[in-house]
């Protein structure tokens, strides 16, 4: 059902001072993961917002977005069944008082599809690859921990929302395996943009777009070395996650791995 998006093109706009941004156009191809970095308040969220609403020089930044070299259809923005862009925001929670299974069925229905057991199982399985605390179908959504909620949202995005473009506004501090989470999202050939301060996420991408004072100032291609550093940082975080799980389960922590086995 998802429309094939091969390319997003972003034409430059203006920064907070009304000056033209430091690029003419940015092209992002399907399967690419891009980090959006910069100080707090620099305009990262605005950049994602321009993409989400497929801006046509009608937002503060005056940026223009093309999909597959064309001005996007209006209905893509409005109809949830055709929604091209899905997003994960900073402070999201579940509010629905329902078991996980019933909730997933509802969402599949809202997406205009027929709920089937295989799809639901896949959502849970992939979510459980991201979180250390397993989720099952009978759990109530409201009882999920922060990490479980995040994991379920991400897996839902990858498997049910199937929008070809995914925007993530901060994902850190959530108690999830981030590298695995990004892998699940990108596997489906999607375009993923992450606004982040997290070094292991920012370096585990194809490019990073640097924003300051409301405008793009630089586009940096990630080097192989940077990717290695990202992998190492991730390894540290995942071992922290393991220790955290052991503490939760009442175990004694006897030792800590000091070196990453594989880079």
């Amino acid at each position: 059902m998802s429309k094939k998006i091969k390319k997003i093109t972003i034409f430059s706009g203006i920064n907070k001072f009304g000056k033209k941004e430091n690029f003419n156009k940015i092209e992002i191809k399907s399967g690419e993961t891009i980090a959006v970095v910069g100080p707090t308040g620099a305009g990262k969220s605005q950049f994602l917002y321009d993409l989400e609403r497929l801006a046509q020089a009608d937002t503060k930044s005056k940026r223009k977005i093309l999909l597959n070299d064309k001005i996007p259809d209006k209905e893509w923005k409005i109809d949830p069944k055709k929604k091209l862009i899905a997003s994960l925001a900073q402070s999201m929670n579940f509010l629905t008082d329902l078991p996980v299974e019933d909730f997933l069925k509802l969402h599949i229905q809202a997406r205009g599809k027929v709920a089937n057991q295989n799809l639901i199982k896949e959502v849970i399985d992939e979510a459980n690859q991201i979180t250390g605390e397993p989720i099952n179908l009978e759990m109530n959504l409201l009882d999920l921990s922060g990490g479980q909620s995040r994991a379920l949202m991400i897996s839902d995005l990858a498997n049910i929302s199937i929008s070809p473009i995914i925007l993530i506004d901060e994902i850190e501090n959530a108690g999830i395996k981030k590298e695995q989470a990004i892998k699940i999202l990108v596997e489906e050939g999607k375009i993923v943009l992450i606004a982040t301060h997290d070094p292991s996420l920012a370096l585990n991408t194809d490019k990073r777009i640097v924003i300051n004072n409301g405008g793009v100032v630089k586009i940096i291609k990630t080097t192989l070395k940077e990717r290695g550093i990202a992998h190492y940082l991730n390894w540290i975080e995942n071992s922290t996650l393991e220790v955290r799980e052991e503490i939760r389960q009442g175990k004694r922590i006897k030792d800590i791995k000091l070196f990453c086995e594989k880079i």
């Binding site: 929604k83 997003s87 402070s91 999201m92 509010l95 969402h107 809202a110 995005l157 049910i160």
Partner: protein, 263 residues
């Protein structure tokens, strides 16, 4: 002249959204803003100071605030003939009334954390535009389910996701306002009738379970089912509700309504 009515429960983000909408519209249009509330508000002053547009405060006091809005609308329009757009913010206490008019645009600001859309009455079901606020607090999946549920109760509406903190969505709301029909010279009519005032408590009775109040309500309810609700005026009253009240007050016989006579 365009008449725009914003309705929505307290705290849903009406005022925050209106601020951003004013910023969008101000360069091209002459605006007027009227804030309705029950007991107190300072919004009209803050908006006048910040955006330099004329505003007014209207406090309903003892009156039902939506009824009061309808009572005051003609006066506001009369006094602002030189304006392009009149923005009305209702007190937003009642899901039953909501003074949307057929000759203007009705915008319901709906807090996504406030429960299932099927619990709302005319405030949602009669809105031309539903502005969903606080979407960044919950998951993408629930946002999609929420949209789906809104369309179940109001198929014809346009849905915009807004954020009162960042101003997200205000551009789209402003666009709908620019494209709204002009009301010039037209007689204003409510989209949905206000309650019938057939119950004794509408008249200020404070004794609960008082037999006379109950009897009046039952008789009023029966009359409501007999009259055609066409407000044809053949009985000599402007509306069927006024006629019912006159019958209940023993001022007129119910057979004065030609439709009841036929039965």
């Amino acid at each position: 002249m365009k008449l725009i009515v914003f309705a929505g429960t307290p705290g849903s983000g009406k005022t925050s959204l209106i601020r951003y909408v004013i910023q969008e519209l101000k360069p091209d249009f002459k605006l007027f803003f009227a804030k309705f509330d029950c007991l107190r508000t300072n919004d009209e002053k803050n908006i006048a100071e910040k955006y330099g547009i004329p505003t007014v405060k209207k406090l309903a006091g003892e009156l039902c605030p939506d009824h009061y809005t309808a009572l005051e609308l003609p006066k506001i329009i009369q006094e602002n003939q030189d304006k392009d757009i009149i923005l009305i913010e209702t007190a937003g206490l009642c899901l039953r009334c909501s003074p949307y008019v057929n000759e203007g645009l009705g915008i319901n600001v709906l807090d996504i954390t406030s429960g299932h859309p099927n619990r709302y009455g005319p405030i949602l079901t009669d809105a031309d535009i539903v502005a969903i606020s606080k979407g960044d607090l919950i998951s993408q999946a629930e946002r999609e389910i929420f949209r789906y549920n809104i369309l179940e109760v109001n198929q014809g509406c346009n849905i915009v996701e807004v954020n009162g903190l960042t101003g997200e969505g205000a551009v789209d709301i402003a666009k709908y306002i620019k494209n709204a029909v002009d009301m010039d010279g037209k007689k204003l009519t409510l989209k949905h009738s206000m309650p019938s005032a057939i119950c004794g408590y509408c008249y200020g009775n404070k004794i609960i379970n008082d037999k006379a109040v109950h009897a009046r309500y039952l008789k009023g309810k029966e009359l409501k089912s007999l009259v055609p609700n066409l407000n044809c005026g053949k009985c000599g009253f402007k509306s069927c509700n006024e006629f019912i009240r006159a019958v209940l007050d023993n001022k007129i016989k119910k057979e004065k309504c030609p439709f009841i006579k036929i039965k």
